[in-house]
């Protein structure tokens, strides 16, 4: 097994302590940073798929994402300024009136693992704050809005519509327990994902990668 294949395998099973050294060994073996990054992104794709199918659970997904993050730390100095390896910036937040962060955090980790640069606005985010963040950050390719409470569904709608009013071409995905694909379409979102694993797939699909 080549080192890059080993990186891929160890990220998938969340070996946080082994991945950094393996990434370095893969570099020494001649793999480019972009190749190694892509291998880890592919691993996380497998992890996300297993999570969506119920074959693994949140801790297993988290340690895989953590292992990848450790690997990215090794690559970061070598990738600096290499915009081709990033799918752009994704702004994420839980909408106004809602304090739940777990779904939003999991989605953030998986979208980051897919190759986006994340800007996390936190919880209880007013619609205007999403718009400000689009303005303040470079190359925002995606906005992800989360809402867990049925009572905050109007806030989800307001967030999407406020973003679309300011930036009509901005891609927006939504998710959370009460959200359905029909509701997402009704409020004008570009996509919906039922869980963190499929959110990463949907994110890439929406920006047409």
């Amino acid at each position: 097994m080549s080192k890059i294949e080993e990186v891929k395998a160890k990220v998938e099973i969340g070996k946080t302590k082994l991945v950094p050294a393996l990434v370095q060994e893969a570099l020494d073996e001649g793999s480019t940073p972009a190749m190694i990054l892509q291998a880890m992104v592919d691993s996380m794709g497998v992890v996300g798929d297993k999570f969506s199918k119920g074959e693994i659970f949140v801790p297993e997904m988290l340690i895989a994402a953590k292992a990848m993050a450790k690997g990215v730390d090794v690559l970061r100095p070598l990738l600096a300024g290499d915009s081709e390896t990033s799918l752009g910036t994704c702004i994420i937040g839980t909408v106004a009136g809602d304090l739940h962060d777990i779904g939003k955090n999991l989605v953030a980790m998986m979208i980051e693992s897919a190759g986006f640069t994340m800007v996390d606005l936190g919880v209880d985010v007013p619609a205007e704050k999403f718009v400000e963040a689009i303005k303040e950050n470079e190359r925002v390719t995606l906005v992800a809005c989360s809402g867990l409470l049925t009572t905050t569904m109007p806030a989800l709608k307001e967030a999407v519509q406020t973003i679309k009013a300011a930036y009509p071409d901005q891609k927006v995905i939504v998710g959370g327990a009460p959200v359905t694909p029909e509701y997402a379409a009704e409020i004008g979102a570009d996509g919906f994902a039922p869980d963190a694993g499929s959110a990463a797939v949907k994110a890439k699909e929406i920006i047409s990668v």
Partner: protein, 321 residues
Amino acid sequence: MISKRENYLMAAQGEKPLWVPSFVEESNVFMPDFWMAVDPATGTDFCNIRWVENDAGRMPDEHWRAMETLDQWRETVKFPKVAELDWPEMTERFKRMSDPEKVNIAMLNTNGIFLIPIDMIGWVDGLCAIYEEPEELEAFISAITDFLVEVVNYFGEYIQPDIVFTGDDLAAANGPFVSKEIWRSLYKPYFKRIVDAIHKIGALAEFHCCGNCQFLIDEFLEIGVDVCQLPELNESLMQKKEKYGNKLVLTGGWDRHSAAALPGASEEIVRESVHQAIDDYGKNGALIFWDGGICGSSEDSQKKMKWVLDELNKYGRVVYQ
């Protein structure tokens, strides 16, 4: 005529009562003061968790971390000295506020051996600790269990509740946070200790989880949970209900993702949702109705709560006659 308490306990014990009891309307709830007490200087509780609150409830502040690493729990957590709490005063206050007609529920906790470590260090590190620091995590879980069991013993001595309520969100809306293997090896023995302690004081054990942890219902029943408060309804819960019948006692029944839960739902739809809840999950008893999911003080929520209660008092009163 039987009292509200007697009627409630019939449902809680898996029988068909005279009417469908209401979790909110027909119970006196005791909660020890220490859960809500915060340090005035830091605004944190005894686990050094800082809470933020809004109209819909309270959550740990995501910008605050109670400790840097899990192994710091011993010096971070200041478990209240249970024996030194003013139990006679808390008991007296509870009795004064209670309606003797209603059932007495003692709230042991709403976050416990699963959630407390996560509330302290966040979801990512809290859940990764299952793999990265299993021994340290289990030591902490064991210490939390010891504390909760001691509190239960004082409940028995002073409050003498009919039901002890213990809550821990092991699952999100779309599924469990951990696998059955992790549940069995890490959490189940400690949950069983808590349930055993509750039974030892002569009370029924009610377990609450906000999310969809239907795949653990068999396990909950195995460790002796008497009442499951599971507000996340789905086909899987329906199947478990069909499998166990009145051996599976539920608090809930109301579908918080139905059309009735949507903002602006009509009175007719909301009223119908009460019938649906009772017909689906309590047609033969063993249901304590709870509209878990209607929250906040908005006009919409207030209207819904009024319609739901009114319909419960109408349909719920005659359905078993």
